[in-house]
Symmetry: C2
Subunit: 182 residues, 2 copies
DNA sequence: CCAGACATGTAAATTGTTACATGATTGT
DNA sequence: ACAATCATGTAACAATTTACATGTCTGG
């Protein structure tokens, strides 16, 4: 589980409140580790209990904004974790199951719906990434940290492009099979 | 959740027992929808309760092999589901969090470990997919169902190749940054 | 001062993982 | 008959999602 370390990273970049974290997750780290505010609040509580972060407000101040910042112990922990290894995350994609189901059913069962839907989503996401690329990483010298962030964005760009290629290819194949089948 | 429909698909291709399913998941559908035997048994119970499959043995025959097959209602349900749409699965990759953490820590914190480890895994997986491609999809005419299955395999091939490219690129960049940093 | 937005949380349901338990079958 | 293995299952736990609840601040 990487949520605690994703939070430490984000707080190290910029100390802020839980709600701010939730918003920033929607724009940066969240592309690769999504999290809702509910998860974030619970995890921040654990981080504070572990002595990895501290917050500006007293306990139980419900509704009042509290700012979290990383403590030295938290930075140590983050360093330790960065040097660990993980297994690559298992793929788990319903679209592939649908395609295989379509093959097993042996008929125009309607995967096109999902293919078209995803094609649209991946194009939107690609456009979003391309905007970020244009805005943040184009036309100037990049610091070391920025070069790493750009690398991560490029992974997202490549992934979306690959998904788009795949959906298009699948749609062409289905078209071919159906006209041949008729 | 696609596990029930992945099971229906697999049973439609070939009726078999829970343990057989678990093994076949390791080789085909499981590449895109992993599942352990514990999950599979629980889900088979629900499928049977729903009237979508039936099994060869009486209830409570613990330890004795039972063969499951899809009923017409199950096939109907699978057809219905194939025509639905899903959101693309959210990415969730600790490696990206590590890279961003390395950027935030601003030092040789050791992401190389994970990059090298994954590079090896993705190369192994690619080799596996290439074997399957060679064995099952090369040098002969393919039926419509086989063309769809091949398409799915090609998605796996493309994904692994993309990951390999990414890891190599990241390692080169880190190398550059570190020699420049010293 | 109060309506609406903002911020922080709690609770329950779903899904998936890990560890373990038990019955049947097979080879020697 | 007995050990090893196969097959089925249970239990406890961890992570994530969804829905809801409560407190604070701000503009009119």
């Amino acid at each position: 589980m990487s949520l605690p370390h994703a939070l430490l990273t984000s707080l190290l970049e910029q100390p802020c409140s839980g709600m701010d974290l939730a918003r920033r997750f929607g724009r940066s780290i969240g592309f690769f580790w999504p999290a809702t505010h509910q998860q974030i609040y619970k995890e921040l509580g654990k981080l504070e209990a572990a002595g990895w972060v501290r917050s500006s407000a007293e306990e139980g101040a419900r509704g009042r904004k509290r700012c979290y910042e990383v403590l030295p112990a938290g930075e140590q922990e983050l360093k330790r974790w960065v040097a660990e290894t993980d297994e690559p995350p298992p793929l788990r994609d319903a679209l592939m199951v649908r395609l295989r189901a379509e093959a097993a059913l042996g008929t125009g069962a309607g995967v096109e719906n999902d293919l078209l839907h995803r094609l649209a989503r991946h194009r939107t996401q690609l456009a979003l990434y391309e905007n970020i690329e244009q805005r943040d990483f184009t036309g100037r010298e990049l610091s070391a940290a920025e070069q790493l962030q750009y690398l991560i964005l490029q992974s997202g760009l490549a992934t979306e492009r690959e998904h788009i290629r795949f959906c298009e290819k699948a749609l062409v194949l289905l078209e071919t099979l159906e006209t041949a089948g008729v």
